[in-house]
Symmetry: C2
Subunit: 612 residues, 2 copies
Amino acid sequence: MNDIDTEKLQGIANQLRIHSIAATTAAGSGHPTSCCSAADLVAALFFGHMHYDPKNPHYHNNDRFILSKGHAAPLLYAAWAETGLFPASDLLKLRELGSDLEGHPTPRLPFVDVATGSLGQGLSVGVGMALCARLDKLDHNTYVLLGDGEIAEGAVWEAASLAGIAKLNNLTAIVDVNRLGQSEATAFGHEVGVYKKRFEAFGWRTEEIDGHDMEEILEVLAAVGLGTQPLVILAKTIKGAGISFIQDKDGWHGKALSKDEAERAIAELQPKAKTGIDVTIPAPSQLPAPNNAAPASCPPVNYKLGDSVATREAFGNALVRIGEADPRLIALDGDTKNSTYSEKFFKKFPERSVECFIAEQNMVGVATGFAARGKVPFASTFACFLTRAYDQIRVAGISQANLKLAGSHVGVSIGEDGPSQMGLEDLAMMRAVAGSAVLYPSDAVSAEKLVEQMAEKKGICYLRTSRPKSPVIYNNDEPFPIGGAKVLRQATGDKATVVAAGVTLHEALKAADALKNEGVGITVIDAYSVKPLAGEVIKAAAQKTKNTVLTVEDHYAEGGLGDAVAGELSADGIKVHKLAVTELPHSGKSAELLAKYGIDATAIVKKVKALG
Amino acid sequence: MNDIDTEKLQGIANQLRIHSIAATTAAGSGHPTSCCSAADLVAALFFGHMHYDPKNPHYHNNDRFILSKGHAAPLLYAAWAETGLFPASDLLKLRELGSDLEGHPTPRLPFVDVATGSLGQGLSVGVGMALCARLDKLDHNTYVLLGDGEIAEGAVWEAASLAGIAKLNNLTAIVDVNRLGQSEATAFGHEVGVYKKRFEAFGWRTEEIDGHDMEEILEVLAAVGLGTQPLVILAKTIKGAGISFIQDKDGWHGKALSKDEAERAIAELQPKAKTGIDVTIPAPSQLPAPNNAAPASCPPVNYKLGDSVATREAFGNALVRIGEADPRLIALDGDTKNSTYSEKFFKKFPERSVECFIAEQNMVGVATGFAARGKVPFASTFACFLTRAYDQIRVAGISQANLKLAGSHVGVSIGEDGPSQMGLEDLAMMRAVAGSAVLYPSDAVSAEKLVEQMAEKKGICYLRTSRPKSPVIYNNDEPFPIGGAKVLRQATGDKATVVAAGVTLHEALKAADALKNEGVGITVIDAYSVKPLAGEVIKAAAQKTKNTVLTVEDHYAEGGLGDAVAGELSADGIKVHKLAVTELPHSGKSAELLAKYGIDATAIVKKVKALG
């Protein structure tokens, strides 16, 4: 590292400051002061330390960089412009509709792996990437730049704990301790010792530095990877550093400088600024690329009609079956693997399994990290506990991450454990994620086929599985494309089309039998793909039953299957009646609860009879 | 403490074990081994240490106890039965539909303040209660019993950090370190030193003890409240302690003993068991009850028609206005108070304001703690960051907590900051919370009136506020009851009923003007109460426009206003067309984005014209 020109790096840092100020002033909004505090750190990483191919940000053995403090986006954009990836003049299009240099980073840009901007999420993603590098036998490092404000987020400590346990010495966190939050100073200001103690307690090696002293920065970076622990660099910085009339002042978070102020600031910085374009960036080592190709086929599904198998168990079977053929599959769980049945995969493929302990936010973040490196991660826990990670899931949607989630123990059908363990809002939650697929199998065959579909399809897919066993009703060769539905009962003169999924599908089939005995016919549809919904299939069936649909779901009445069907079909004049859980449920036996909350066969029969 | 009979307490602990085993075996499910590890701790707290009135669990100066490890519910139930609050024979009705002794604790029971069972949430609630006791000048202590597995949850460290910052020496956490999680051993087993370091780094006083040694337990409890820090007692325990053939064994989480096993276990414990019914529990001090009465009235709202005010700013104004009259009001924020405008309340009433820093899970948990003590807490941040706390909000729903949430910066109308800062799933998320009200004002007057309604109504209420300024369109005396809607434009021959809220209401009004110029009339409804929805109002209007409704919302198409209207009205033959955000949005100017995603006046005009 002796040949690194620290004066040049300081000059580049100032150039990054100038770009950040100019871009935010041009946009009329943004966070220039949050860029300035971290400019020396970023200059050192990008132009004096990290090994990567600046022409190919996706190269598999590049060092990875995650800007967890996503509001410093202009700084990141400036760094890549200074590598020569795109013209610096583009930076002035910051935040414009026509430019992908958005307010916070998104993977619309080739050098951004995951969206950031919801604070405290980057470290989990970094843990996933560092675990993935180890699995893929790659020697690059992963760097995560955090703000001091965001380390109040518990998710940071979930990530820190797992990194410590896994001894990720290929992971480095850098905390830009600039003392000032958005609305007031952080709780600890420049008392970096508090953070040092915390990271040490979570199993990290720590270094405290002056984040504006290039020599110090380079010295601690030179020791990255030493020892067996992850490293955190606690860098004491000044918010707005380099702008004499603004730095270290309250009230300057998320505020662009006026044109005059910007000119004044740039005039101060210009004499000390240097471009980075002519810096030779160290190349990454050339190591074989991991095999992240999709398999040609999977071993077949093998159940007997009438077998009694819980869909959650079929999920576990599917993970193993598909995992045999697909080396990209990774399983993650939050200490529920014996309930979600991901345990089957953990036992068979321990090297591709990550026990995240009871920390769902980090589990989803780690999975997103694996997805960003070409893997197909399946993260599982009880459906209700995925609510814990809704922000991470939401942001994975913005990342358009190839993330697979499986939530078990849905609805009142879980029985005795009571409402805190019942997933009753997961359909609403997962439907509202950008680009998501929401799948809800009713038997083992459909569950297995849907897991296959999830592995094949790019993007966020959610599988909703049930606790109770249910009979196998489909043949092993039945296909279950995402966006499809199955019409299971249909006859001329049917009174209504009953749309169900999961446990309520079996109730609907029982209701059809009971009604048939009374001379009333109903069409029964398995809406296993809640999003995208097979609207045309349901509509066509409904039109044969006087436009009358009855949805039945083991979910709250809001945002689930009923709303999905009504929201999609009511414009066509389809009348959608809903049966769903409409009050806070109680503990009890599964069948008792289905009856009490009006979603069992008896309730369906009663409702169909009452339909006009 | 010299007169405490430790042998008696050990006997009571064994009696609690017997009850826990018998109840779970009778139920056929549950977590007896998780009860046994904590039995000595609970016996010491309830029969040798805590000051409370066992006949009146709600007495305002009782010590509070939160079972954060909610799966040990039978132990809690057994303790209260042994105080004499209800007959011990009731314990055998555990988990039955007809008994409120549910699988995990809920406030259906008088001695449960908040639902638990989603792990890692209890400490935040405890922080809220301890802060509230300080505010109310009460001298009781708050005790939170946690499992070792759950302290992997980041929310625990968010709570720990705030407790340390606030120096809550009236808060004691007890960690039942029984070494075994659900699916495998915890990461640190019995290495209690790891937890000690962590809590110390977060500002706590720590004590390590043998959790089965009654002398040690009582000794550390005797020092509760000393010094200025919160106290954590790290108790090394054995899972299933007291059942010789099960204790400390893997594979016994969440499993009831068979009838034979239970008989054998009880036979082992019986000779060493004693009842607690004749123990005299120390009385709490008699201090004045806090004034938690609702005010008779609030100062009036005062805007001028046409004034340009953001609904988020009106929220801040309302907090101050109502806060003057209502001493129950508490404001909490996550370092966004200058954006949500809760800052106005923070400045006026600092003693009733809690800066939670960037830690939304804990913010919601702390607010739930205040609510459980009779306050009316308003917790605010960007709407999108409330997703971070969805599990806490879900569980607050189970608690039927009097929790008020305000989410600002909703939808694409925020503009340049980009998708990570846009609340686009909050309506879906909040509608699916048990018993919630979801409110979405379009101007300053309605925003203020809705905050008033929120303060008056018991239960979870969510206010959705917007970033841009919008004109005041209502008079100051206009009432906005929860569950209502306003018909703003209506004429005979209207082609469609346009249902909007927030920013899209103003777009709908513009569209109505534009269409009127072309000779097309539309009915415009302000659906400010998304849940409960004014279905009858909308239906009546729709029936006058050939059953045709068009919803327009700055939210994803799933689970929001459109689905709410369709889900409620399609059964009546109302045709609901939807305009909503249907793809992942980009950064850009507010008006550009409303146009690009098809929810502005132009889009409404176009859609209305295209309606058949």
